[in-house]
């Protein structure tokens, strides 16, 4: 395992003075798959217009945690949760809370690019359409804007009506990001979005993610620590279903508070 590129050490910040808005407030979160507990008592605040990275060895619960934020984890029928997750001050586990609403505001990009077997245009227009937009002009505008924001427009503008499966893996993943942007979410969850991509596509997606920070809050799972160090503002380190440490990315990589974090980022396990 390679070591981390020289971490940029910022001065220990007393910059807590600027009160940032949190989008997600997670407290006391526990999660079970049947009888197997996968998340233990997680407390975590996720802030607006930041990139929050989640790192940790495989099987530690990163994806599970991420999918809890938009309740996609409930697609597994045996899942049980306890605790609360506040999204803009509303508990998403409230029985009255609509998952459809939640997922409209909290978009998701998956590990493996998963475009629909439809045209590029129809892929991006999918979200707007299910939310009731039918007008062709409106759809055109949204499709173009989303593809531009996902840095894919120039590559596909001449073949919008071709099947998305003709795109390369990296393009497919950016298409999935465009598809996600088209529903105009506030938060974007990304589960190892570059793990199936080649280095150049990875670089493009990383660049894209950083540009998206202005408009969106992003939570990105990665098992690539360099990636977390490169692109994120805050990093959370998960281990065996527990949140071990969560702090500014610079600090976590240069001066981890927990021994286990240090062992992990120096490559002693994982």
């Amino acid at each position: 395992m390679s070591t981390i590129a020289k971490p940029i050490v910022k001065k220990q910040s007393e910059e807590k003075t600027i009160e940032k808005d949190s989008v997600f407030g997670v407290s006391n979160l526990n999660l079970w798959y049947g009888t197997d507990q996968a998340l233990y008592d997680i407390h975590m605040d996720i802030y607006k217009n930041e990139i929050t990275a989640i790192i940790g060895p495989s099987g530690c619960g990163k994806s599970t945690f991420l999918k809890t934020l938009n309740r996609m984890v409930e697609m597994v029928p045996i899942v049980k949760t306890s605790g609360t997750i506040k999204y803009n001050d509303e508990n998403i586990f409230d029985p009255k809370y609509s998952v459809e609403d939640l997922r409209t505001r909290v978009g998701m990009v998956f590990q493996k690019p998963n475009p629909f077997p439809k045209s590029i245009y129809d892929n991006v227009a999918y979200g707007p359409r299910i939310h009731g937009i039918k007008n062709k002009k409106d759809l055109d505008t949204i499709v173009e804007k989303s593809l531009k924001d996902a840095a894919l427009w120039d590559e596909v503008k001449d073949r919008l009506h071709e099947n998305a499966y003709g795109l390369s893996g990296g393009q497919q993943q950016r298409l999935c990001i465009a598809r996600c942007l088209a529903i105009e979410p506030d938060v974007i969850l990304m589960d190892e979005p570059t793990s199936a991509l080649d280095p150049i596509s990875t670089m493009k997606v990383e660049e894209l993610v950083q540009n998206l920070r202005e408009k969106y809050s992003i939570v990105i799972v990665t098992h690539n620590m360099q990636q977390a160090a490169r692109i994120s503002d805050k990093t959370a380190f998960f281990l065996n279903g527990e949140l071990v440490e969560f702090t500014e990315t610079d600090q976590l990589f240069s001066n981890p508070a927990d021994k286990r974090t240090e062992d992990y980022i120096t490559g002693r396990f994982g």
Binding site: P77, E100, R103, F110, P117, Y126, I130, H131, I183
Partner: protein
Amino acid sequence: MPLRNQDDMYKRRKRRTAKNNIFRTLFFTATTVGLIVLAMLIYRVLSQGTGSLSWDFIRNFAAPYPDEAGLLAGIVGSLYLMGIVAIFSIVVGVSTAIYLEEYAKKGKLTTFIQMNIQNLAGVPSVVFGLLGLTFFVYVLDFGYSLLTGGLTMSLLVLPIIVVSSQEALRSVPSELKEASAAMGASKWQTIFRVVLPAALPGMITGSILALSRAIGETAPLLVVGAATAIYSLPDSVVDSYTVMPIQIYSWISKPGDEWPLLAAAGIIILLIFLLIMNTIAVLIRNKFQRRY
């Protein structure tokens, strides 16, 4: 180490090759037997039937003399019957499959229903005839009508359609459903816009194969009172009717040398229908071969 022993290894390999040869021969023979029987059947039917094939044979109703008799009522009856079966069994079958695959909670009850559907597919067709007789003829009072025949046949092929549709639904990658759900689509939106389009080719193929089963079935229709000879086409779904296999069956059982030849001609027409349907099914399957 016995594995290291060259001699032993050699013997073992020889034994394995021998075994393989035996099985290969066995399987090959079995396949050949099937092919030969099929070839004989087709040869017999063609050699007996082609002589009686003509436009008149397709245009004429049944008649007391073989050279005037035709299959018209059977062909039209079979097509009408297919229509009823298609509408009823596909609507009910596909809905059932969607419910079981996408909505029903996986549990004891679902497993029980699932098991019974599979068992139903193995029930002898006459039993469906008896069910149709009791329920459609006596209880619902539909008489010995096209409707009764169509509904009875629908019940017969329903399990096939349910099971094949379920398979088609199950083969839709869950990543696609997740992608849709993650954008805030409701369950129905996901099913309607993502799952069904992807499962459609499989469903159509399964349905066509089910229909081709229905077009060749005779026993249940005999039980629910399909006529052997009628001289007019059905005007409505409550009219009496006949179908190809029943006309063929009635000709075979008539005395005289010429009737069986007519029956063979009828079989040729029936086979052509089956061939067309199966070809369409295969074409659809190949055209939409999984692209994920």
